[in-house]
Point group: C2
Chain length 336, copies 2
């Protein structure tokens, strides 16, 4: 999940001098921003600072980052818009695309950080990227793409196919550049029911994740509001399912059984509680999966702007205390 | 679910001369708009044309209906905003509030329509109304109210309490005015995980529904994106759970068991498919619950603007054909 951003004063300092896109696409700046939360909180992994839509930009669809979110000023509306998309130059260093910059950032982070700290790459799910490309922006429950999968299904399929091929290539390049694991954020696929999900999202998630897995990196799939898709998400082939805050982890584990890892899922909004309450909620989440060996502690979505730093500290403290307590007692110890 | 609106030419004709708020709050106009879809399609029930936020307006919070959705220009931000809210005059005929007008509309519809056609009233869930009042408008996953339930929980509780009391009174008045059943649209409660739902939405749903049920009317609860809350929704005391398009009906039935009715849930976006595909999807939905006696056919959310009328016709045709086929054969009939 997104670690850096507007809640950090050191990030806001850099934002005074650079646009969001500049921070993402200038390797030195992106390395610095990626490391800011690691330096402050000592996380076990560092996620590259980046936006999923640069890949679409690298395919010929310029994206603009506004206060209200990312927008494609020229949505893919007609056949000719689809035809105008080209395979991305994932290694290209043109700052107007930004894809190649992220590969350099991954390489720098990997060589700079200790081996015990994982470097995480990521990309957007093809369905989610298609939603942005088709609609300009995502509204509420994705009405535009939900309409289009019924109105012009083959058009949506062709767009998703192209995006999946590009994403597969990009994730593979991220692994080659040094990413220890890669995440696929199919954030908006939760607007689909299971039948539509299996037709318009799942096959493209599989295609996008396959090469990265073959390259030896664990893959992580995230969907927001995807409780109703949990069993289907498993079919994606991802090694880890990353859950939003809505689905209790213990219930997810009981639905899925073993053989797959879980990641998540404290509500990022819970970080607006008092530090004591953050400690309590985090402990309660950890205890709900106590003893589960296949679990990565995380939030259930990206950290929100204005999140108090004291809350992130409380979150990390709860996790470290829990880890220390859960360690098997040494021989002769009197711990219960 | 919303039946009338921008997809009907006869509605658009009326909108040329009247604002949305005028149509809702002028009894003669609201009766006419409510009847438009009934006349055209012959539904088994008529839903009053209305908006859930008039109730908040009747409590002293003026609402504005914009192209992007309803907005409170003066959100409830401070204690003094909360204190300024007053119990609604639910019977009041001041056109600036609109609550009393709807009671008249219900009365007129009930006396005008045959007994076999149900008249449905409704109101917004207290949590959902609170979300609008606190934030001005609902953004994506309700970040503002999700933050506030952690940052200022007692403030949110006090607002929801007041809204629940007003809603209970209003639903009871709708039943007294002639509504055969009432729906509670807690549309946005699906942004909460189960624990937060049980604290900030469920108690207020219960309180809102109780009096209407005591007055003898069946109650229906709808939540959008609430698959993860299905078992908790049952605790609301609603006689019917109305599901969005994400949760397959047969799976919901198997999760819930018997003793409760289901309503839903074709994706309104599916009405942008060809009529043949709409027939196929509707039949498939009906067959998935075949033989279930406690089921009300509906869409999974309000009908979308620009929906082709031929699709609504196909939807209704599929239901009527299915009903005719499912009728028990008369003695001596050779039907299989």
């Amino acid at each position: 999940m997104r670690q850096a951003g507007r809640y950090l004063p050191e990030y806001q300092e850099m934002r005074k001098r650079h646009s969001f896109a500049q921070l993402c696409t200038t390797p030195d700046l992106a390395v610095e921003v990626s490391l800011q939360p690691y330096r402050r909180f000592g996380f076990d992994a560092v996620i590259v600072f980046y936006d999923i839509l640069f890949l679409a930009q690298s395919m010929g669809a310029p994206v603009e980052f506004t206060e209200a979110g990312p927008v494609f000023r020229r949505p893919v509306a007609e056949e000719r818009d689809l035809d105008a998309l080209h395979p991305p130059d994932v290694h290209g260093l043109d700052p107007r695309t930004g894809t190649g910059a992220i590969l350099r950032v991954i390489g720098s982070l990997r060589s700079e950080l200790p081996r015990s700290t994982a470097v995480l790459g990521f990309a957007g799910g093809p369905f989610t990227m298609a939603g942005y490309l088709l609609g300009g922006a995502f509204e509420r429950s994705g009405e535009r793409i939900r309409r289009l999968i019924h109105d012009r299904p083959s058009f949506v399929h062709r767009l998703c196919e192209r995006l999946a091929a590009a994403t597969a290539e990009y994730l593979e390049a991220q692994v080659a550049a040094g990413a220890d694991a890669v995440q696929l954020f199919d954030t908006w696929a939760g607007v689909l029911g299971p039948e539509a999900f299996r037709e318009f999202a799942l096959p493209y998630e599989k295609a996008a994740l396959k090469k990265a897995a073959e390259a030896g990196a664990p893959t992580i799939l995230y969907i927001n509001g995807g409780s109703h898709l949990l069993e289907d998400m498993r079919s994606s082939g991802a090694a880890v399912l990353s859950l939003d805050w809505r689905e209790p982890l213990a219930r997810a584990r009981s639905r899925l059984g073993g053989g797959i890892s879980l990641q998540g899922n404290l509500d990022p909004a819970a970080l607006f509680a008092t530090p004591e309450e953050v400690l309590r909620l985090t402990r309660s989440m950890l205890e709900s999966l106590s003893g589960d060996p296949a679990y990565i502690v995380n939030l259930g979505h990206g950290i929100l702007p204005e999140t108090p730093i004291s809350s992130v500290e409380a979150f990390v403290r709860a996790v470290k205390e829990f880890q220390a307590r859960e360690k098997p007692p040494s021989p002769g110890s009197s711990e219960s």
